[in-house]
């Protein structure tokens, strides 16, 4: 409960800082804080229901602070959460390098999915060539920051978590024998 509340507050504050920073730093050099938070939650929070709810909340807040339609980032963040869960169950993403590589690829897929949704739902869906060039620094910024955000979220969940998230699994021999 405590960890959940802290994650919500940290996530919302992170998105607000992102929006304020975008006033001075070109958006292509800024990492997508919402996406990184959802990936971090997928890797650190054990309960999938909680994870899905976090993804929806962060997605909706991103929609509010962005020019997208309400619900567009919600769909994408749900997708990001699902992909992160599935991939982390098959590949070890604990190290910074595999995680950075995963987020780099995910950022490109995420941007393509966002463009596809925008092209379907909004007028003027054609992407300018200059915008495509912005994808590389944006994906790299995401990849570089992903291990840091994931480590912070994992630490937060470990510190405040009142479930067994992030703790080593312990077997009770007596229970097993009985």
């Amino acid at each position: 409960m405590k960890a959940g509340l802290a994650l919500v507050l940290v996530g919302l504050f992170g998105l607000m800082v992102h929006s304020a920073a975008a006033l001075v730093v070109p958006a292509r050099f800024l990492p997508d804080v919402g996406l990184l938070l959802v990936v971090a939650v997928a890797l650190s929070v054990r309960s999938p229901v909680l994870g899905v709810l976090f993804a929806v909340l962060f997605g909706y807040t991103t929609d509010l602070l962005s020019g997208t339609l309400l619900g567009q980032h919600v769909l994408l963040r749900l997708g990001v959460y699902g992909v992160a869960r599935v991939v982390s169950a098959r590949i070890n993403l604990r190290g910074p390098l595999p995680l950075a590589l995963f987020v780099l690829i995910l950022s490109v897929i995420h941007a393509c999915a966002l463009w596809a949704l925008a092209a379907f739902f909004l007028p003027g869906g054609v992407v300018a060539p200059g915008v495509l060039g912005d994808l590389v620094p944006h994906a790299v910024a995401n990849a570089l920051l992903a291990p840091v955000v994931t480590a912070l979220v994992a630490a937060l969940v470990r510190r405040l978590g009142d479930d067994d998230t992030g703790r080593p699994l312990r077997l009770e021999p007596r229970e097993l024998l009985s």
Partner: protein, 301 residues
């Protein structure tokens, strides 16, 4: 058994959330198209919380940027003074000549009356946040419904047209900048009166699409709003033509515009507290909430 039940519950939850998100998108798209996009209270509440927090976060950044800007400005002040003096002299001369011409035509009193009718109240607003997605161009303003701001109101700076309010909450508003790919409006070349459509491209330039035959558009031409789209007022500066596509067999030609507004340095804007006739007409059909701005300032581009 319990695991299967959990899995089914999770699947149902995800399906329900995907459904809700899709419906929200469809509804929001319709509201955006109709210009009737007012955020619901719970979503607006989140924006109301975000605006003051972001204003506080932006304060140190604004301070550093302002101090740097003032230092640079001081270095240029002497040269600027000389330029301004000569500019004022030229404009005074021009003004005198125009007045003479108007008086001669007996139209001065009529124009003064018309100006009273057309003057639009302006509300100064501060930018407190920018788009968190690099593929869209919108900004968060620190004024909302309680200040009289409504969806569909143009946003300008002293340099020209900056964008359009697309969503409002009680004390904050979201404005889509001209550069956004969703932007499209009717415009005119000031010199030749050639008409066309200005479109955002998602990068730092604009496109001006005009009918190839009979339109005279050249680099250096100033493009202004035509007022014919029913959303923007007439005569707002949009940008300057930097490049024109060579004539070919196509019906439409495209010119590239450099926006009049320097979006990288945009800090303060003015919301024009009057929607275009099309949006006003749409709004009279619903609750009929009129705009009564409590704090207005007379300013213009």
């Amino acid at each position: 058994m319990a695991e299967t039940r959990n899995r089914v519950s999770l699947t149902l939850l995800v399906v329900a959330l995907v459904g809700v998100a899709t419906v929200t998108m469809v509804v929001d798209r319709r509201a955006l198209r109709d210009g009737t996009r007012e955020l619901p209270a719970w979503a607006g509440g989140l924006l109301d919380v975000a605006a003051p927090v972001q204003r506080a976060l932006a304060l140190p950044v604004d301070f550093v940027r302002g101090a740097w800007g003032r230092t640079i400005a001081l270095m240029d002040v002497e040269r600027e003074n000389a330029e301004l003096r000569s500019g004022i002299a030229r404009l005074e001369e021009e003004n005198l000549q125009l007045r003479e011409a108007l008086v001669a035509g007996g139209q001065l009193a009529r124009i003064a009356e018309m100006r009273q009718d057309f003057e639009v109240p302006m509300l100064p607003a501060q930018l407190v946040g920018s788009d968190v997605s690099p593929w869209f161009r919108s900004v968060l303003l620190d004024r909302g419904r309680s200040d009289g701001v409504r969806s569909g109101m143009p946003v300008i700076s002293e340099q020209g047209l900056a964008g359009l309010v697309v969503a409002t909450s009680r004390s904050a508003a979201k404005a889509m900048l001209l550069l956004d790919r969703q932007t499209a409006f009717d415009a005119t070349v000031q010199r030749s009166r050639a008409r066309g459509i200005v479109r955002g491209r998602g990068d730092d330039t604009l496109h001006f699409e005009f009918v190839a035959r009979g339109s005279d558009v050249r680099p250096g031409d100033v493009v202004i709003t035509s007022g014919l789209d029913g959303v923007h007022a007439k005569g707002l500066r949009v940008g300057t033509v930097t490049d024109v596509e060579p004539p070919g067999s196509k019906l439409l030609r495209t010119a590239t515009l450099a926006p009049a507004v320097d979006f990288g340095r945009l800090e303060q804007v003015f919301v024009m507290l009057r929607r275009g006739p099309t949006l006003e007409f749409l709004y009279t059909t619903d609750s009929g909430d009129d705009v009564h701005p409590p704090h207005t300032a007379a300013a213009g581009p």
